[in-house]
């Protein structure tokens, strides 16, 4: 087995020619994507560069305060991202926080489980904690954003149906049962599809990375399987908590539908 082969800036520059080609196609066909493409490519390079330097710095420290700081920044970024992805947002920072925080908390809880299983020394070693937390939070973020968007969208479209059920004596949970079920399915679907396709259609990114780094493919697959289960768990916890939070925040203790708690749809 060959060892890890480092890349130089020249090789990266050569690879970037493909993005330039992509931009030229956009210009040639008038797709008007070249601007977004340039911004997205630049953002990607900058973000990954900064995060790499930050991780390198944190791995060199012995004080866990730096790890904690990174985790805090991730929490804020996750919640902001969930909120950004909503077409209709809940009003008030408390409601926003309650509905979006499951995305981060679910990832955090499952990361702690992962650390229990892997048992690094010390348990909070940033080389294990931060990448795993990132993967789990990233997946539960997508799920929570989807479930919130599905439920708030359906509630505003199906206001009359919800109120007809309430008028017949349904509780808010009964009136929302179909919408909640739809939201949970939508939120969980990407993870289920990802698990089913893993290894056949695509080789998961983490497993690819470990193989490129020289790890035995069987060991890499073991890690990937564990991470897949944890991703499924993190997404399930986040989606269920986010879904119930959305139903609660869209109704009140008198079992009324409160669409006045939603902002107008954004572009």
């Amino acid at each position: 087995m060959t060892a890890y082969i480092p890349l130089s800036v020249i090789e990266l520059a050569l690879a970037s020619i493909l993005v330039v080609a992509n931009g030229m196609i956009s210009v040639a066909y008038g797709l008007r994507l070249e601007r977004s493409l340039a911004v997205a490519s630049l953002r990607m390079v900058l973000q990954l560069g900064i995060v790499a330097l930050a991780l390198k710095f944190i791995f060199a420290q012995t004080n866990p305060v730096w790890t904690l700081l990174f985790v805090t920044i991730m929490a804020v970024a996750t919640i902001a991202e969930v909120i950004m992805r909503q077409e209709r947002r809940l009003k008030g920072w408390r409601a926003l926080l309650l509905s979006a925080s499951p995305a981060f908390l679910a990832g955090l809880v499952t990361t702690l489980i992962a650390l229990l299983l892997i048992q690094p020394q010390p348990w909070y070693a940033p080389r294990f904690l931060l990448p795993i937390l990132g993967m789990l939070v990233g997946n539960s973020l997508s799920g929570v954003a989807l479930v919130l968007d599905t439920i708030t969208g359906a509630a505003s479209r199906e206001r009359r149906v919800i109120e007809a059920r309430l008028a017949l004596g349904a509780t808010r949970h009964q009136a929302f049962e179909d919408i909640l079920r739809r939201g949970l399915r939508t939120g969980l679907m990407p993870v289920l599809n990802g698990m089913a396709a893993a290894g056949i259609v695509s080789l998961p990114g983490m497993m690819t990375g470990q193989i490129l780094a020289g790890v035995d493919p069987v060991e890499a697959a073991k890690y990937q399987i564990m991470i897949m289960f944890l991703i499924a768990g993190a997404t399930a916890i986040g989606v269920v908590a986010g879904g119930f939070a959305a139903v609660h925040l869209l109704t009140d203790e008198r079992h009324r539908l409160r669409l006045d708690r939603l902002t107008a749809p954004s572009e």
């Binding site: 199906e158 009359r160 149906v161 109120e163 007809a164 059920r165 309430l166 008028a167 017949l168 004596g169 349904a170 509780t171 179909d178 009140d252 008198r254 079992h255 009324r256 539908l257």
Partner: protein, 221 residues
């Protein structure tokens, strides 16, 4: 008896009135005058200040779903969310006291509806069939108060007459009915008292209850 005490549905002035058992109150007013919102507020589907009592019990004293089983709002446009109409009928709260299938069959016969319609896809039913089935759904579990919002909207004359006969039967059985309607003749046929919702800022013509300070909870009529 339904008693509404200074309910505030902006921009209308506070409204107070009572509807005795077996009495029908018609709420009149142009479109957008707040008829539906008043009915929704009485059913506690919309937050509104003021008090609503059913036989001396204020709506806040019971859970909202229990209140809406007793004080039933039926919207103008009937909503169906299940494949068949039968699945959207309210689940019996107490199986021992649940309406028997013969009660439902009788109700459907009075509305000239074939019982087989209950198990057909709702999307295959006509507007009038859906409207009449919604009326059956609203009364099948014997609520004490019916808040009917344009109950014969979109019905032909024969179906309209059938629904009106059933409303009269509910009144004879001691239910209180609040009827929002555009149809002056229908109001003449059914209503005992009227409440006119005029333009905002002008007081309604008929506010039976006097406007003295009786806002305490648990006030007995």
């Amino acid at each position: 008896m339904l008693r509404v005490d200074k309910i505030l549905v902006a921009p209308l002035p506070p409204l107070s009135f009572t509807v005795a058992n077996g009495e029908c109150l018609a709420v009149e007013g142009p479109s957008g005058s707040g008829k539906s919102r008043l009915l929704r507020a009485i059913a506690d589907l919309e937050a509104a200040r003021g008090h609503v009592f059913l036989d001396g019990a204020e709506r806040g004293e019971m859970r909202a779903p229990a209140w809406r089983r007793l004080v039933r709002y039926a919207a103008t446009e009937p909503m169906w969310w299940t494949e068949t109409a039968r699945a959207a009928f309210p689940p019996p709260p107490n199986p021992a006291r649940s309406p028997t299938s013969s009660a439902l069959a009788g109700l459907l016969a009075d509305l000239a509806l074939d019982p087989a319609l209950l198990d057909k896809p709702v999307s295959d039913l006509s507007t009038g069939e859906r409207q009449r089935l919604a009326f059956a759904r609203a009364v099948i579990d014997s609520p004490r108060v019916l808040l009917l919002d344009e109950p014969t909207n979109g019905l032909d004359a024969a179906s309209q007459a059938r629904v009106e006969i059933l409303i009269q039967r509910e009144l004879k059985a001691g239910r209180s009915v609040v009827l929002a309607s555009h149809d002056a003749l229908q109001i003449d046929r059914l209503a005992d008292t009227r409440l006119q919702l005029a333009r905002p800022a002008t007081l309604p013509r008929a506010t039976p209850a006097s406007d003295t300070a009786r806002t305490q909870r648990g006030w007995q009529p």
